[in-house]
Symmetry: C2
Subunit: 323 residues, 2 copies
């Protein structure tokens, strides 16, 4: 089958291959024909060496089940990315996304969705309602991660909240938090990103215009940049909370004294629940169409990755059945 | 009067001066004759340039009020270190230790206790019961900071807790947490520190023997070293908590991806409440005598600072009225 392949011996580069073997379904898994898949910041970091991944990347996708489950066959699905054991201490605690033996679609230990087919555990699948087209359903996974900010951290209308960095993920986080009616400000280096927030009804501010006054109750760090935490520490109030979303391949040089002196709480935040993300998209509460900067055939994958790395392009999609 | 003085133009060095002007009491302040003062890690960092401090350092002390308050005159006191405005947004929230306009004894904006006299707000003073001698009362301030770990973070007997670094502060934190009957392990590079924990009834482990299994519910980072957070991230379980105590002059090179991936909560933790610290010391629940490695006259201050920087010496005290 066609696939994009990352070889860690060639960092920074993905290759298109036309003869990648079709995935072998393991017990309890279904084979999904991928309609559409999204490139996210984690994919860009993976090909820079993050996680030491090798294989087919891609974890944001929508497709149709073609084999492995009578119930799901022919259904259009999205799938949660953590494939878990259900027996380790974390799974038994209910923290399945932290399963000690997990593999993660296109991120760790198994191939992902930048291919014609992907094999995923049947229990990871969520059926996509007919009303939700592929171009929106492909946003369920990152939107779930955005929803997770508000499941892990209480956000209410009394709170001053900043979303720092309104790119791929930040734009989703900002829209989710706006629904909580908190006192929200979206902050970005790029005037275009700020303008996009304003169009979505979220108050935006260019980073250059921000006077850090350590007065936000919550700062959600979505910059994807190593200096994001430093900026967040300048914005958050003493005893406030920073929700950290960005992961990077490279460590940054960080002075954490303000974290201790101001008794700030920093909380890492990763994958989220699919059902509320599906509901929000179906209800038209989250706008994603304007985020799509381009859709590429799989054989143009290297070009698509280059486009995804351009700051102006928010979301680049791959369409494996496009010739 | 005699005092130790830090001049930021001479980093790494404190000077003894015999002609430092006596402190001018401001409104609401009392003048305290210092009996005994302790050198802590923050003092060592200050003279390396942390906080850009200049003046008389020192914030752990016990002394006798000699002027400024009829009620307190002649009383032996310890004093909270944050001098606050009571009118800013943080003070009005009840977060007085985060007062926007605060000065901090011997750390920020005002002279400290490594001198014959110090001026402090009367409301910062706590009278020391007769039963508590100076050599133990001088530990009230750092013990309050240790108590604060358990006021900010719930610790109970179901929890596996690690104290990482059992030096000046870690030994106090370990003793406080042991009273919570949690499943406690004290970890240090130095075998002598581990042995001291064992003598105090706290299970200890040498860092070299620790196999990081990401299985502690809470890790209290008291190493005072830039790599402390990295170690803590290897010890804490997914969704667990790291309480960060160390502040350093120099930033460290830190890869925070595990914080995000494992959704760890990192909480900065600084000053704590004096009354429980006084009660614990009076009740003999916390052993501090064995921590004292030497007591120096003020004129031997530079020597005392050098001794405090030696890893084997846990607590070095300064005694201004010693000739």
């Amino acid at each position: 089958m066609d696939a994009l392949l990352f070889d860690p011996r060639q960092p920074g580069h993905v290759a298109f291959v036309a003869d990648h073997p079709e995935p072998q379904r393991r017990r309890g898994e279904v084979l999904v024909r991928v309609h559409l898949a999204g490139i996210c910041a984690t994919d860009l970091e993976l090909v820079r060496g993050y996680m030491g991944f090798a294989g087919v990347p891609g974890h944001e996708f929508v497709g149709t089940v073609v084999a492995g489950s009578r119930d799901l066959k022919g259904k259009r699905v999205v799938a949660e990315i953590n494939c878990v054991c259900r027996t380790c201490d974390m799974c038994r605690r209910g923290l399945t996304s932290h399963c000690r033996r997990r593999t993660v679609l296109g991120i760790s230990g198994r191939d992902g969705a930048f291919a014609q087919f992907i094999s995923v555990p049947a229990r990871n699948c969520h059926v996509v309602p007919r009303a939700l087209d592929d171009a929106r359903a492909v946003f369920v996974e990152p939107l779930a991660a955005a929803v997770h900010v508000a499941t892990q951290q209480r956000i209410d209308r009394t709170m001053r909240v900043a979303v720092l960095g309104v790119g791929r993920l930040g734009l989703l986080v900002a829209q989710v938090l706006a629904l909580r009616k908190c006192r929200l400000t979206a902050i970005d280096r790029a005037p275009a990103a700020v303008a996009m927030c304003e169009r979505l009804g979220v108050a935006g501010q260019a980073l250059a215009d921000v006077k850090p006054a350590a007065d936000f109750d919550v700062v959600v760090e979505c910059t994807g940049r190593p200096d994001g935490l430093r900026l967040a520490l300048e914005l958050v109030r003493p005893r406030g909370t920073i929700v950290l979303k960005s992961t990077y391949a490279l460590p940054g040089d960080r002075n954490l004294a303000p974290l201790v002196v101001n008794e700030v709480r920093v909380v890492g935040n990763r994958c989220g629940p699919f059902p509320p993300a599906l509901r929000l998209l179906c209800a038209g509460k989250i706008q994603v169409e304007d985020m799509i900067a381009g859709t590429y055939a799989l054989r143009r994958g290297p070009e698509a990755f280059a486009a995804a790395a351009e700051p102006g392009n928010i979301k680049i999609l791959l369409q494996p059945d496009r010739p």
